[in-house]
Amino acid sequence: MVKILGFDKTSADPVWEQGSPERWVHRTQKGISKKIVEEISYLKAEPDWMREKRLLAYRFFKEKKIPAWGVDLSELNFDDITFFIRPGERQYKNWDEVPADIKGVYDQLGIPQAEQKFLAGLVGQYESEGFYAKLKDQWEKQGVIFTDTDTAVKKYPDLVKEYFMTRCVPIADHAFAALHGAVWSGGSFVYVPAGVAVALPLQAYFRMNAPQSGQFEHTLIIAEEGASVHYIESCTAPKYSTDSLHSAVVEIFVKKNASVRYTTIQNWSKNVYNLNTKRAIVEQDGKIEWVGGSLGSKRTMLYPMSLLTGKGASARHLNIAVSARGQWKDTGAKVVHGAPYTNSRVISKSVSLGGGRSSYRGLLKIAKGAHGSKAHVQCDALLLDPHSQSDTYPYMEIYEDDVAIMHEATVNRVTDAQLFYLRSRGLTEEQAFDLILSGFLDPISRELPLDYALELNRMIRLEMIGSVG
């Protein structure tokens, strides 16, 4: 099995929790100001249009209020955070050239092996910027682009200008979108030309190593007419006693008849605020699939959104959130049916344990004129003990009569009676939890590539052990 998500079988501690010595060639002073935004743009030698966009975003950020709903963000202090850290001077296409300390981390996480085995391409990011980008020749020849977003600004300015924080996630969307627009760095850029199907997944792996830092990668995926691609994103950070901030934006454009699957397993350590905005615009008969696993972090707010703008467009959202001790996750899905005969299916599962708290927050909107549309939302919560908590906030706005809508919500609590029943048949308490958990998660595990499903189970088990201890 490939260690895609970063397990080292020889070590009791998960690899991603082990920090490495800090490395940087440039870093901004702590905190955020107009000067720091300008410094980031200057260090990147950006064109004027991007620098101006950053400054405009910063102005919006100053005006916007931090959300008062969702998770408690009162302990998040922007003055303590280093917003930009450049790990090295250049980028590589060959692992042998990558500096030994960075390569060591990625080797331990098993990333280069995974790339060899079953990926069409890989982008590696360390702190604020990408250090590695490689797309296999076969796809490059067909015009596919897969690189880090900073490189894309320089090499493909027209594409970036058209799609970057314009009509999908505008810079004025909300406070964290505006902050992101001001200080964004790194992320991946995917462009798939019309009619091209990328048969193997593209993967990006983002590593945040320094304590009290911020990571603001921007991912832009454009699938032209009839194109298809599966993009996988993984994120980790080592364990520190101080807080870090991760605030990414993902924008996906699914053109007519195209399909995009976006899979992400986020496994931040428990000192990370994880506040992301992910959105897709789906045109006629296009398909978007979001598969997400949210583990780790201290606070998470994440509601991937599908805007179904073309007739027959469809969205599928599969989400797992695990909240262990000290964690609070507010996650869900937003779907807007803006055209007739559009379909959406949301399956959201949360597991809370050790006093953790999970909330489902979802929006389902069916616009006037979106007749013949179908939507099915299912959110299930599993509470492994009596100290943990789960809430559901489903919002629905339906402006059309000729539609079929289903909403199901269940809350299951693992009871002593269930555990005793299973143990009376010979299962240990741990095996009993495992059985209940894998049954609960099965509908989503089935959608993940096998290695991912196995590792996800292992990670959840680790969370459980951590919460009990």
Binding site: S424, G426, L427, E429
Partner: protein, 251 residues
């Protein structure tokens, strides 16, 4: 010289609490291999608590006495350890376990007990065959564990598990409630087949009617947390005539 038959289960002066409340008081009971025992008594007399204590339910806290199983003291053993030693509890109200399929559950249980497993397909086929005899619909096998099962289906599922797990001693709590007359007959047939010179059965029941189908070797009457009377089938006849109240006032 007649060899002394060692007991499979020996409960000696066993007492226990639930939530600090005394429920079982000085219970003694012995079951030998090959035997069928009935445990009877009025509602709330402690029968279910005793069954639960035998299986090691953590909510039942032992406060005195011992439970010996096959010569081993299991008074403080974990439920799964008791299960692996060959003890089985058929629950009065089997709990629903959402999302856990009957087949994956049973496979996990058997593999936890160190039993070799056939392929999932073969295993399912074996279950269907075993289920026919017990009147278990094959659709039930594909459902989640006890989820939405009717009372009768739950009891049949407990019997099906028994037949697959093959324990040394089965304690069945009120398993005749929820079964119709046909269900009762087929259950008794299956249990007769289950009891061999190596296995034993402790059956908790409200009513004596089960004795018509499955004659017991010993009958025990429980009242107020202790066993007040042990004997043969004549006890059942007395209970059937005068009810527990009449029987207990006589003795």
């Amino acid at each position: 010289m007649i060899p002394i038959m060692p007991h499979m289960l020996e409960v000696q002066h066993f007492s226990a609490h639930i939530d600090e409340k005394k429920i079982l008081q000085d219970v003694s009971l012995a079951v030998a291999p090959g035997e069928v025992h009935f445990l009877m008594g009025p509602n709330g007399s402690g029968k279910t608590t005793l069954a639960s204590a035998l299986m090691g339910n953590p909510v039942v806290v032992p406060t005195g006495g011992t439970i010996i199983f096959n010569g081993e003291d299991i008074t403080t053993a974990l439920p799964e350890e008791r299960a692996k030693k060959g003890l089985y509890l058929g629950f009065q109200y089997p709990v629903e376990v959402q999302g856990v399929g009957f087949v994956p559950f049973l496979r996990a249980a058997l593999s936890a007990r160190g039993m070799a497993l056939p392929s999932e397909q073969d295993f399912r086929a074996e279950l269907v065959t075993a289920g026919v005899e017990l009147g278990v619909a094959s659709a039930l096998i594909d459902r989640n564990l006890n989820e939405g099962f009717s009372g009768g289906e739950k009891k049949r599922s407990e019997l099906l598990q028994l037949s697959v797990i093959q324990p040394r001693l089965a304690v069945l709590d009120e398993f005749d409630s929820g079964l119709d007359i046909d269900g009762l007959r087929s259950a008794a047939r299956a249990l007769k087949k289950y009891v061999t010179p190596d296995t034993a059965l402790l059956l908790i029941t409200h009513y004596g009617r089960m004795a018509e189908y499955l004659p017991p070797d010993r009958v025990h009457i429980m009242q107020a947390g202790t066993i007040v009377k042990s004997g043969g089938t004549e006890i059942i006849e007395a209970v059937e005539r005068g009810g527990f109240d009449g029987f207990l006032s006589l003795s």
